[in-house]
């Protein structure tokens, strides 16, 4: 029989016992729906976790610095030039690093401990510059209260939660800090804060051998500077719950300023290198890489340039591994319902054979081959699988959406930003329908073979 005829007859037969076949098909769709719902949640959570990790800046950032600053810390077997031969980390080096394949941006890492006055009280803490690009790619600023800097050098400041607590005179909490970030932000956002810092100014007389307040150690002749104590008033624009600077460990900052603003302030200790004609050199650069997978390559490239480079091991790899296992378990649980549904298919088709025994006998008497009869039952199983699969994917999609919706209501109540914990990629849709078809066809194997083997004489005798 031609495929068209097999399909046509199969659908005709399915329509004949529409109620029973619909129940079986719904059984399959429930199985597929549970599989899709489970996997869509697994995939969604994986994507969320990977995104968070990637956006945390922990695994897509390489810290590059000149080896000159580490001449006393050099490890015996470290490769590359000796610290003395290491090039200095100046603007030219920064541009060169920025051109390495896979690098999104390289910006100087400016951080220092300074005094901030708020409400007439001094607070000493670590201040760090944040590039304006962090607005979109650093997750820590995603769920913050208030807003990000209005421009790349505006005199504004974002506080880390613990510093906000300090400003408000709250004792630091032990264990999990469950203070509501919104309550902390309310009295602070919009207020002014004064930062005291030491500015390094270049001596106006060029070529003069006399130096004013102090000549820095290692500074060459002709580059004289003075240090002036200055104040900068800053407007608090945001308070962040998460720790944008978590990679820095003990050196992590709790107050963040626009990087361009800090660069313009020429805060001490800023060093200048004579060989670079008095252009500033940077203590270290943060090099942001497009994809965490490219981190090792970028790290190698930076090392080849003679700098030292440091990055955290790509933890997204182990996250992916964890989710692969989780998805496997979810798929097994999801498939259980489909396994039950497949028994339903076997049952329905075996019942159909009993009911249509005589019909099978007639078809055989008229010249239907074993393959024709087998194909017919196979097609019926396949049709139920296909329809059930399509229905199931739709149901799974709706269930996933509902779970996502419910979760986001809960997250909103807990003052967390909304999250997409559910994802149905195209491969899952096609895979689920394909799997449903496969399970149905496998379920149809036994009934189809049984129908094909039916003895026509016996079948015709059956009333």
């Amino acid at each position: 029989m031609k495929l068209y005829d097999v399909t046509d007859l199969a659908f005709r037969n399915l329509r004949e016992s529409i109620f029973r076949n619909s129940l079986t098909t719904i059984g399959i769709s429930v199985g597929v729906a549970s599989l899709v719902a489970m996997l869509s949640l697994g995939i969604g959570l994986q994507q969320l976790a990977s995104q968070r990790l990637e956006k945390s800046g922990l695994f897509d950032t390489v810290v590059a610095s000149s080896k000159r600053d580490m001449r006393n810390f050099r490890e015996a077997r470290e490769e590359g030039p000796t610290p003395a031969d290491s090039p200095s980390m100046d603007e030219a080096a920064r541009r060169k690093i920025e051109q390495i394949n896979g690098v999104v941006e390289a910006y100087p890492d400016i951080r220092f401990v300074t005094e901030l006055r708020f409400d007439q009280k001094p607070h000493l803490t670590m201040v760090a510059g944040v590039p304006f690009s962090a607005k979109n790619n650093n997750d820590a600023f995603d769920g913050m209260q208030g807003r990000f800097f209005s421009s790349e050098s505006s005199p504004e400041v974002i506080l880390q939660k613990s510093f906000a607590e300090e400003l408000l005179g709250m004792a630091p909490k032990q264990g999990i800090d469950d203070r509501n970030i919104a309550d902390l932000a309310k009295p602070l956002v919009g207020k002014e804060l004064t930062m005291r810092y030491a500015e390094r100014t270049t001596s106006p007389s060029s070529g003069s051998s006399s130096s004013e307040t102090g000549a820095p150690q290692g500074a060459a002749e002709g580059s004289a500077y003075s240090v002036v104590s200055r104040e900068q008033s800053l407007k608090i624009v945001g308070v962040t719950d998460l720790d944008p600077d978590s990679m820095r460990g003990a050196a992590r900052a709790r107050v963040f300023l626009p990087l361009k603003l800090l660069q313009a302030l020429h805060v001490m200790p800023e060093s200048r290198d004579a060989s670079a004609n008095g252009t500033p050199t940077y203590g270290s650069l943060s090099v942001r890489v497009a994809n965490p997978n490219q981190v090792p390559a970028v790290e190698d490239a930076i090392k080849k340039m003679g700098f030292s480079a440091f990055s955290l091991v790509d933890a997204t790899k182990s996250v992916r591994q964890f989710f692969a296992v989780l998805d496997g378990f979810l798929a097994i649980f999801g498939s259980l319902a489909l396994a039950v549904a497949s028994i339903g298919i076997v049952n329905t088709l075996v019942m159909a054979i009993l009911e249509r025994r005589r019909e099978i006998g007639i078809m055989k008497a008229l010249g239907a081959s074993d393959a024709d009869v087998r194909g017919l039952f196979f097609a019926e199983a396949g049709a139920m699988g296909l329809v059930g699969g399509a229905l199931g994917v739709t149901m799974g999609w709706v269930i996933g959406r509902l779970i996502n919706f419910g979760t986001n209501i809960y997250l909103a109540r807990q003052h967390f930003p909304p999250a997409q914990i559910w994802s149905v990629p195209l491969w899952l849709v096609l895979g689920a329908v394909g799997f449903s078809l496969l399970v149905s066809l496998v379920s149809g194997l036994y009934p189809a073979a049984r129908a094909a083997r039916l003895d026509p004489v016996q079948a015709l005798r059956y009333e």
Partner: protein, 239 residues
Amino acid sequence: METNQLNSLAIRTENVRRHYTMGETVVRAVDGISIDVRAGEFVALLGASGSGKSSLLNLVAGLDRPTSGAVVVHGNNLAALSRESLAKYRLHTVGMVFQSFNLIASMTLLENVELPLRFAEVDRGERSGLARQSLERVGLGGRLSHRPMELSGGEQQRASLARALINRPKLLLADEPTGNLDSRTGTEIMELIRNINQTLGMTVLMVTHEQALAEKYAGRMLHLADGKLVEDVQLGAIR
């Protein structure tokens, strides 16, 4: 001459047996029957219930396989055919009508008659025309879209005949074709079968227990009892 005779031989059974085991007893449904039926003959198989006439018909139809002996139809030894080839044989060489018509209830007459064409993989475009013609030949041109249950017994048997003839078989096998019909419609069906036998030259092998019917329409009567051929009666000229 010998070759010509063989060529014109439609059915030959050689000491054919069909034994069933039911529990511990062996039922000898067909027990060593040897017959020759020439092409174009109209042969009636007669006998009491359980005499083995339907079992013999099933063997010739390729629905069943003999326990021993051979059934040769138009040169094909059915016992030696594979399941696949036997299905092809039933599709192209044999047309069957049954006592209970055996039309598929969920299909219209046209669809029922089209069914063997589907198995023969005839193109969709041609099928409907062929089925229509076949139904018109048995006088059911106006009932194409009716379901079997909407028709009288005689009409159903005529539809069943139309279906049996759709693939232009060489052999028409009829198992009590008038068994479920009143005598008037029974006669109509028998006239139709005789007409097919005479105009198309189709070999007809018919199982019946009505001797009068056999004498009126058949050219030859084979009497069976306990699975054995007991009498072979020629009824005049081959029709």
